[in-house]
Symmetry: C2
């Protein structure tokens, strides 16, 4: 009798092979000194298939979700990883095989799974009102226990959240603790409906908008200012014909322009204003930060000009172009006083080769800020690997710190033996000045196939790690991370 | 602030480094075909330190215990590993450092730990009366849940077991399901008291003997026949002066002879008869099997002629001699009709280089038998590794099957990239003839630092594995293992 085998999955190689196990490790081995006062929890949402996909062209974004927790207590670090026990994972585990099919296409699921939520929760962890959530944009949030990582279940905020989907990138307003979020395809597959929500720090729904998008597209991230909510569309589009044909949900259409909704936080549905850009602006995956100055809304974000997602085909049939994945960091200024439906664009940092995994000091969300941190490929390092056996790209091996005031770049380099993960900024103290703190990033050691959590001084990235939390195994691929300080100063809640 | 570091522990290298994490892996990857009908649970008791030892000369036998479970269900294999949550592990985890000191010497413990049980439970797993036990000979059994591996606690059989210690090698009588066990240093450190117990298949104490040993020595294993219990002493001895001097419990005294107690299972304390051998017979660590024929008691066992334990010093101050670790397989015949207090010795298999990790088809315990299986170093393979940075020995890389009728040897070889663990025999069917079944052994892949469970046809070891259950990480060092069939035919109980 044969058991599970990933030998026919070309993406399951090296560090891209699924981990498939859950681990608990009390008191990780540490090299160097954990900074005094670095007490809190670092969560990572990761992709990790339990069963080989039923379709070889399925995207890794359709993998089961797992959450890692590094908990820091007075220089000691405890590690825990758990699968998110989604209805989907439970059904597949009971069947001991994959039941779901191509990403977001129910027609391709095993008949036994067509009425089961496809939620994987594999994208972003956030702590809010005392709960840990891990989000996947095609489904409601998955709620988990912030200490044990036990899954509570799909979360509709006690019936307050009526949309069928929920963004993986809600924003926590550091001024109020409010969680601002949105849903796209909010009324179901291919629906143009967008819902926008504000939940207060106790999880109570304060405001809700329902609007229509000019295009049904992947809308992965959003931005907020103290007065506005910013929702960009992208060139990743879908339609009923694709789904009926059994194809993967998304295709990249290079003729589709970017549309941006600006929503006044104190306004109604009718106050929403749409701006319209070009197709070269329609590959914004993540935002850095935004602010409102007078009647101008200013957004900084890495934006690519071509298909960012190798696993989603180009609509015109052209092959995936690896150069399309490299965004530059742009500043978009929307003038609310102008009748013009376009916006002003400046390139702040160009010539990058990298990802869109950008973070900043979250205390400065909605406000003027100076620093951002992004996972990039440092092209000066001679590091080249076969990624998933399919796409040859350099592995992201550096964290760049961008100075949005001066244009300067500082860099943490992992050399040519490690890849890195999305940087997590942690303030040195709750009242530390912006950028004074630490960068946490998981480094994957290709030479030993082991992972470690690297801690660097955010003001001296070039000096390299000040501490390394070493694991005796490799880790799965992280999507996004979250730092929750022990005192929970952002949300007013402390993890149990 | 510094975290845990093993960099000063010379034994924590490569596969001898502690694993330190607990894992759950549903549906392991499998190469080859799991034999139909191989349904049940393979347990392994392992050593795995959570904290670096307080004394660099401490024995690995003093490491925390962990239990692994490979559960086979219709060709699927689920894996789980858990630390045994001993009072000792809990105390050290709360303190986030080692509190215990040298092996079995309370005077060397941190004062906060001197009243806490030193139990690690790290030696042998056995299922009996529906419970999983993991034994350590210096303490009572540790009871665990056979499915979840959650620790229940130290076990005194509901108050029936009054000794302070309990062997790591109880025997389950396949005729009755009785568990026959003994305790040495049964009334405390350096006490010459031995207790011998018979528990029925429901865990009820049926018989009990209390006798005195002629020497206070490590008595690691025992043997049973349908009519007798056999208890050998060894040359590993101790005394109060050693303990008072803060030394590790054991020292090897090459002048101490072997003494063997033969206990009639239907007799009283006064019916126990002691036989006396030579110092060259005083290094029996494990037994193979025994039987009573007429008034002769016949024991087969691997026996070395010198110190087997590199971590316990020689009493005469001489250096550890690596050649002492290699036992040959001997047959000892005790004639109960003779007044002679010696016994007859034959060497069944000599010239071996290896361990004393021997197992057989447990259905034939107490009976005439043909096959035994032992973990050995095949000296024809060019494999040499630094073991623990201290002792250079070849890693055990082969399972030999010994034919006790003909003297023939068949062998399963792991070549020069893997080490192997104690073989576990599993019958092909409850009513299969002796030796018809499978050998399970964990192989540690030094080239990739990963482990896998290898399954071979016990009648065709030379053909190599028929299936390999692959783990994405290395495993800790196994001491002993146990197979519990799904139907629990040996004990009449099925694991929950």
């Amino acid at each position: 009798m044969g058991g599970v085998s990933f030998k026919d999955d070309p993406t399951a190689k090296g560090f891209f092979a699924p981990l498939r196990f859950e681990a608990t490790l009390i008191d990780c081995e540490v090299e160097g000194d954990i900074p005094a006062g670095l007490n809190g929890s670092f969560y990572r949402s990761c992709i990790d298939r339990r069963y080989p996909p039923r379709f070889p062209d399925d995207t890794p974004y359709n993998s089961d979700g797992a959450v890692d927790l590094f908990r820091f207590t007075n220089g000691h670090v405890d590690f825990r990883s758990r699968y998110i026990q989604t209805p989907r994972l439970k059904a597949e585990t009971a069947a001991r095989r994959a039941l779901f099919g191509r990403y977001r296409n129910r027609g391709t699921y095993d008949p036994s799974a067509r009425d089961i939520s496809p939620n994987t929760g594999n994208t972003t962890p956030i702590i809010h009102h005392g709960r840990l959530f891990s989000f996947k944009e095609d489904s409601p949030p998955m709620a988990m226990d912030p200490d044990t990582l036990e899954t509570i279940g799909e979360w509709d905020f006690h019936g307050q959240m009526r949309a069928k989907t929920f963004t993986a990138h809600p924003k926590i307003d550091p001024n109020t603790g409010d969680m601002i979020a949105f849903s796209y395809e909010a009324k179901g597959d291919v629906s143009p409906d967008l819902a926008v929500f504000v939940f207060d720090k106790h999880g109570k729904l304060k405001r809700e908008w329902w609007i229509k998008a000019p295009v049904v597209s992947m809308m992965h991230d959003m931005a907020i200012t103290d007065r506005h909510i910013i929702l960009p569309t992208t060139g990743m589009v879908t339609n009923q014909e694709r789904l009926d044909a059994g194809l993967i949900h998304w295709t990249y259409d290079s003729s589709v322009p970017c549309h941006v909704a600006i929503i006044p936080r104190d306004g109604d549905d009718k106050d929403v204003r749409w701006f319209h850009g070009t197709p070269e602006q329609a590959m914004l995956v993540h935002t850095t930060n935004a602010r409102t100055e007078g009647n101008k809304v200013i957004l900084d974000a890495p934006v690519a000009s071509n298909n960012f997602h190798p696993f989603f085909p180009n609509a015109d049939g052209s092959a995936f172009d690896v150069s399309g994945v490299s965004p530059n960091i742009r500043r978009w200024t929307f003038d609310l006083d102008s009748k013009d439906t376009g916006w002003k664009e400046e390139v702040l940092f160009g010539g990058l080769r990298g990802t869109s995994m950008v973070r900043m000091d979250d205390r400065y969300l909605t406000r003027p800020f100076r620093w951002s941190y992004m996972l990039v490929v440092d092209p000066t390092l001679p590091f080249d690997r076969e990624r998933g056996g399919k796409l040859s790209v350099r592995v992201a091996n550096s964290i760049f710190r961008f100075d949005h005031h001066t244009g300067a770049i500082d860099r943490l380099s992992a050399g040519n033996t490690h890849s890195l993960s999305e940087p997590q900024f942690v303030p040195a103290r709750p009242d530390a000045p912006e950028g004074e703190g630490y960068i946490l990033t998981v480094a994957n050691d290709y030479s030993e196939m082991r992972s470690e959590l690297v801690i660097a001084d955010a003001m001296r990235l070039g000096d390299g790690p000040i501490a390394r939390v070493k694991l005796p195994f490799r880790l799965h691929t992280q999507v996004h991370g979250w730092w929750e300080p022990q005192e929970g100063f952002l949300t007013g809640f402390r993890p149990r």
